[in-house]
């Protein structure tokens, strides 16, 4: 058991990685940094000690990639696949293409500059070919969060910019998996592409056959034992990985096919799926920490002794890394904002969505390491991508925390231009409207409120910033403004000052605060999900704060009491609520 520090055992290496990662994860948590950069940095630190047999470690850690891709395809398998492409998804694809092209150009440019005679000492051993440039392009293009959506589940949101970012992310996920399949199928070495694709097809066919015919048999065999089911699923994954390996293609292809082979049913096998989650989290954590160990930084002692000699080999790596960080952190948000505004989103939502995507994606790291293992990517470029990923993720956290402040600063300096309206009927509010109800947000609640106003003949105006709601607004609302609630223009056209009541259904602090500024002259009702926040909002002048739970609880209390007192049989209760809710349905709320 256990060796000495000079030739450390694999168990010790794993232990050191996790031990170093712990404090970094805690520090990361206090500055709201996601888990992945902390893990990479932990690996970076441990890697510099030079104690670890990276190849051996990676052999184990690479199961992390397998589990990630496996879970991804498992989820595709359980979810309905949609064939309609939304506007946002087009934006995502165009954005990825633009950034990809810029990444390729950047690398080629660095390659050309490094060829200059004055950089003779600095250059790389191998040339920065178009192939290398392609991988930098991929890294620049994808901010995908395969880890974000699957490993670290995000709360579902009604907020437009979060929703935008999520949609763009999921397009990125698909692109990333596609690219991975292509990369690992050896598509860059053109010769065996046909055979490789053939093998891929065989694997997928096998997966479908297993899913259809064999899986039921395995379920029967497992006989309700969670352990047997769990190890069977892991074994299926491993078999696919082994076959992929045998066919000389990447384990990614195998893992993807394995996910398709499993019939996912989270309810029947909740324990099994929970089990897969834990196993995945362990291996994925190990994987990202291991990735960090692969990067060699110049040793600090050597840098002090002879800076020029120590840093020279690192210059190309740093150049590509910095270029990538600039592309991801600066250029990408600009491109995203431009595309989103052009497709009708208000400039605030677009900017905030841009800030959520301003990093090198986690999945780019996986593409890079697979390409490295398969021999397509040279080590310096790989190191540059890893460094850029860690750095841009850390920067992204900063911009994400101060996103509203940065947006305001940019808007005030006129950097974002004037509000842009791509449709003529963005405002249908009569100019002389007064004593009206302003309803902010045209979601489920907003719609119900509009119906209510119509019922009692109360004039109203809706403010909504999601262009996807426009068709409904046109059809159902007499008076609406499509635009950012925070723009002065919106306040003017909706005649806020003359309103009788403002009801904001948007659960977002900046919007809530904005409308409360009108509470001196107008009654304002705002909404929040967090009960402790309500006191502050009342203090600021709200006449009432909507908390859906609180309101629903009022209704529930009566029903529950009646049931317990035997006044209602459960069946009656059902009928009664169904009746109560039928009104909602008639109003087309669903």
């Amino acid at each position: 058991m256990g060796g000495t520090m000079a030739e450390i055992a694999l168990l010790t290496a794993i232990a050191i990685l996790f031990v170093v990662a712990g404090p970094l994860l805690l520090i990361g948590k206090s500055v709201r940094l996601p888990v992945v950069p902390s893990l990479i940095v932990a690996g970076l630190i441990v890697g510099q000690l030079g104690l670890i047999d990276e190849a051996l470690l990676l052999e184990l850690a690479r199961l992390g990639i397998a589990f990630l891709v496996f879970t991804f395809s498992l989820n595709i398998n359980t979810e309905q696949i949609r064939t309609v492409v939304t506007n946002t998804e087009v934006v995502a694809i165009v954005q990825a293409l633009v950034l990809g092209a810029l990444g390729i150009l950047l690398t080629l440019a660095i390659g050309i500059v490094l060829d200059f005679p004055i950089f003779a000492d600095v250059g790389l051993d191998e040339a920065l070919t178009i192939e290398q440039a392609l991988f930098v392009g991929i890294a620049a293009a994808l901010s995908s969060t395969i880890v974000g959506t699957i490993l670290f589940t995000r709360p579902k949101t009604e907020i437009v910019h979060d929703d935008l970012a999520n949609q763009i992310d999921s397009v990125n996920d698909f692109l990333a998996v596609l690219l991975l399949l292509v990369v690992s199928a050896g598509a860059f070495a053109l010769d065996p592409i046909a055979t490789q694709l053939g093998y891929g097809v065989i694997l997928f066919v096998a997966a479908i056959v297993i899913n259809r015919y064999l899986f039921g048999f395995i379920e029967q065999l497992a006989d309700g034992s969670d352990e047997a089911m769990l190890i069977s699923i892991v074994a299926i994954l491993i078999i696919f990985l082994a076959v992929a390996e045998l066919l000389d293609t990447s384990i990614v292809v195998g893992a993807f096919a394995a996910g398709l082979a499993i019939r996912g049913n989270p309810v029947d096998y909740s324990e099994v799926f929970n089990g897969l989650t834990s196993i995945r989290q362990f291996f994925v954590g190990l994987f990202f920490a291991s990735v960090g160990t692969l990067v060699t930084l110049p040793a600090p002692t050597a840098v002090i002794a002879d800076p020029a000699a120590a840093l020279a080999p690192f210059i190309p790596v740093a150049a590509i890394a910095i270029g990538l960080v600039i592309l991801a952190s600066v250029v990408k948000p600009i491109v995203t904002v431009a595309l989103l505004v052009y497709s009708g989103y208000d400039r605030r939502s677009a900017t905030l969505a841009g800030f959520e995507l301003d990093h090198v994606g986690v999945f780019s790291v996986i593409v890079a390491i697979e390409a490295l293992i398969l021999g397509f990517l040279i080590e310096p470029v790989f190191e540059a991508i890893i460094l850029a990923a860690a750095l841009s993720m850390i920067l992204s956290t900063v911009t994400h925390i101060f996103d509203d402040e940065i947006y305001r600063m940019m808007a005030q300096n006129g950097w974002l231009g004037r509000p842009y309206h791509d449709v003529d009927d963005w405002n249908t509010v009569p100019a002389d409207i007064s004593d009206h109800v302003v309803i902010v947000g045209y979601g489920r609640q907003g719609r119900r409120l509009v119906d209510f106003c119509k019922e009692i003949d109360q004039p109203y105006a809706v403010i909504e910033n999601n262009p996807e709601a426009l068709p409904d607004l046109r059809e159902e609302c007499d008076a609406y403004v499509l635009g950012d609630a925070l723009e002065t223009e919106t306040a003017v056209v909706s005649n806020l000052r003359a309103a009788r009541l403002i009801i904001s259904t948007a659960d977002a602090k900046p919007i809530t605060d904005h409308f409360l500024k009108y509470s001196d002259s107008v009654d304002v009702i705002v909404r929040t999900r967090e009960l402790p926040m309500a006191a502050e909002l009342l203090e600021k002048g709200a006449i009432y704060v909507i908390i859906p739970d609180l309101l629903a609880a009022d209704l529930l209390a009566g029903n529950l009491r009646a049931l317990l007192n035997g006044e209602h049989a459960p069946k009656e209760l059902q009928e009664q609520t169904l009746e109560e809710l039928s009104r909602e349905r008639e109003a087309g709320v669903e």
Partner: protein, 584 residues
């Protein structure tokens, strides 16, 4: 350039192990048997397809570490305090007796005096891996006999650690030498335990509280904590080398103490659910690799002797345990079940034997090592069946051993819930429901994943469980099956579906849903009432609005209680105190 392939020996172990495991389940056999046989078949004994590699050995070690970590997480002091004295009184005489029997048997058979000592030292422990795995699988780990067995196993583990330390120091030069090594190990174990328990009291609560809302981070930090102890135990000789101290601590002991520290926190139940599958996976590799290290000739050199020793040891272990448990005044069933499980020789016996064989100069040769391993494998395999059918066996022999029943045995406290209320997720709606339900029910268990909620609930006098309802362990702890009323304020469909499936028809179940399809599905599954919170909320709000436009004084009156509650700004106003006139 990095050159990485899939570790094919891992692949082979996993796949053949899984196959054997599934077959074992199908044939009604314990999975461990499947795993051990797999190792025999694919290892050098039969086909020689797989040799242990750095990766398989690491995964096997991780398996043991996770198993002991898991065990540690289950040890809540409050629940085992009363067992410490009997466990010490049982384990020490037991080891002495079995050690002597093993030693004597070996002397009768053609073994040298030295080998006989090692055999005696190797056979006195029962298998942590087998017993705990089986108890977990059968849900008996927290029963009284389960706790006794686990306690005795731990006492044995401490002894193993000490023996290993002595063996690692090479052939001792005298009693003084042994005493020094013993002293150092005892001090190290104590120091580590004190550090772990100190941390669980002063550092971990705040630490885990900060991160408990982030599931991945929570899990990774728990792993980091585990590996901190693993690393320190593993490298203790390296760490203490500058001080001129030669020391030894096992990875397993470190993992156990790491778990023990977490066990005292409210998060332990939740973590159990997550470490369990990792343990399943890695322990499987451990069991498969047990037989991988041996050539058939070494393993089978003393096969006849091994059979004799195995049979005698199993009988002796049962009798010794039965006598000692009986002496400690446990009831007949506990005594029987607690004894029948412990009849095998531990995997640590193999570890001790390996250490003895690798010592310079070696105490035993490869054939003696093979003998000890064979005894361990055979007794483990047989004992698995005794564990599997322990209850049936008891019923079978009960009439014959009835005369050993005590008149006033120690009674274990029964803490199981019955006909109670289970509330999943604590929010405003659940809070309101609790206040109504408490009038009718004595026991209300609230399950939540937020520490602040759990604390508020406990303060208000309800039972609180920290954890995710998706984990079977949590549902079991909440005794969901026996609940009379279940209220779920979780919007997660899977959770609601699972709970509707697991509750009986008599249970009244209230659940929340977000959409009409979900609502319909939940009613179909047998929910008594499905709350559509957003819709209900809007409906109620519209009622307020009607008043706002018709009669503003009535509106003010209507929202007054809400405003009072909102102004209090408290996340969880004391649940026992009533606000406004909401509850009519």
């Amino acid at each position: 350039m990095v050159d990485v392939g899939l570790a094919h020996e891992v692949a082979l172990i996993l796949v053949s192990g899984a196959l054997a495991g599934v077959l074992a389940v199908r044939l009604g056999q314990p999975t461990i048997i499947g795993y051990i046989l797999t190792g025999v078949v694919i290892g050098p004994v039969v086909f020689g397809l797989v040799e242990p590699s750095a990766i398989t050995e690491t995964m096997a070690e991780l398996g043991l570490a996770f198993l002991l970590f898991l065990l540690g997480i289950k040890m809540r002091f409050g629940e085992i305090r009363h067992l410490i004295a009997p466990i010490v009184k049982i384990s020490i005489p037991q080891m002495a007796a079995i050690g002597l029997i093993g030693f004597g048997l070996a002397l009768l058979l053609p073994f040298s005096f030295e080998a006989a000592i090692i055999i005696g030292l190797a056979v006195m422990y029962s298998s942590t891996a087998v017993v705990i795995k089986m108890l977990n699988d059968k849900g008996e780990a927290t029963s009284l006999h389960g706790k006794i067995d686990v306690g005795v196993l731990l006492a044995q583990d401490i002894v193993v650690v000490i023996i290993l330390a002595v063996l690692a120091a090479g052939q001792p030069e005298g009693l003084a030498d042994i005493a020094t090594t013993l002293g150092i190990v005892m001090v190290l174990v104590t120091v580590t335990a004190v550090v772990a328990i100190g941390a669980s009291r002063f550092m971990l609560p705040q630490l885990f509280r900060r991160i408990s809302d982030d599931r991945t981070l929570f899990f990774l930090i728990a792993m980091s904590w585990l590996f901190l102890f693993v690393l320190v135990s593993d490298q203790i000789d390296f760490i203490l080398a500058p001080f001129g101290v030669e020391a030894y601590l096992s990875v397993e002991m470190g993992a156990f103490l790491a778990g023990l520290a977490i066990a005292q926190l409210p998060y332990s139940k939740d973590l159990q659910g997550r470490v369990n599958p990792l343990t399943d996976l890695f322990v499987m590799i451990f069991f498969v690799s047990v037989a991988l290290d041996f050539e058939a000739s070494d393993l089978l050199a003393y096969w006849q002797e091994a059979i004799v020793v195995s049979v005698v040891l199993m009988v002796a272990k049962f009798i010794v345990f039965f006598g000692l448990l009986h002496w400690q005044r446990f009831d007949l069933k506990t005594t029987f079940l607690g004894s029948i499980g412990m009849i095998q020789v531990s995997e640590f016996g193999i570890v001790v034997a390996v250490a003895a064989a690798e010592s310079q100069p070696p105490f035993i040769g490869p054939e003696e090592l093979g003998f000890i391993t064979l005894v361990a494998l055979m007794t483990m395999s047989v004992s698995v069946y005794f564990l599997q059918y322990n209850q049936q066996l008891f019923e079978l022999v009960e009439p014959y051993i009835k005369r050993w029943e005590h008149d006033d045995p120690i009674q274990p406290g029964d803490t199981e819930f019955r006909n109670h209320v289970v509330v999943i997720g604590y929010d405003e709606i659940a809070r309101r429901a609790l206040r109504i339900l408490e009038e009718r029910y004595d026991d209300i268990v609230v399950v939540d994943r937020n520490v602040a909620h759990v604390e508020a609930v406990e303060e208000a006098g309800y039972h609180a469980l920290f954890g995710d309802f998706q984990y079977a362990q949590i549902r079991k702890d909440a005794a969901l099956k026996y609940a009379d009323f279940v209220f779920s304020s979780s919007g997660q469909m899977e959770i609601n579906e699972i709970l509707l499936r697991e509750t009986s028809d008599e249970t009244t179940v209230f659940v929340e849903a977000a959409t009409a399809e979900q609502e319909k599905r939940l009613y179909d599954l047998g929910a008594a009432y499905v709350l559509m919170v957003p819709q209900l909320g809007v409906a109620q709000f519209i009622k307020y609005l009607e008043l706002y436009f018709e009669d503003s004084a009535a509106f003010d009156e209507m929202i007054r209680p809400d405003l009072e509650l909102l102004r209090s700004g408290e996340l969880f106003p004391d649940i026992a105190v009533r606000h406004g006139g909401h509850d009519g």
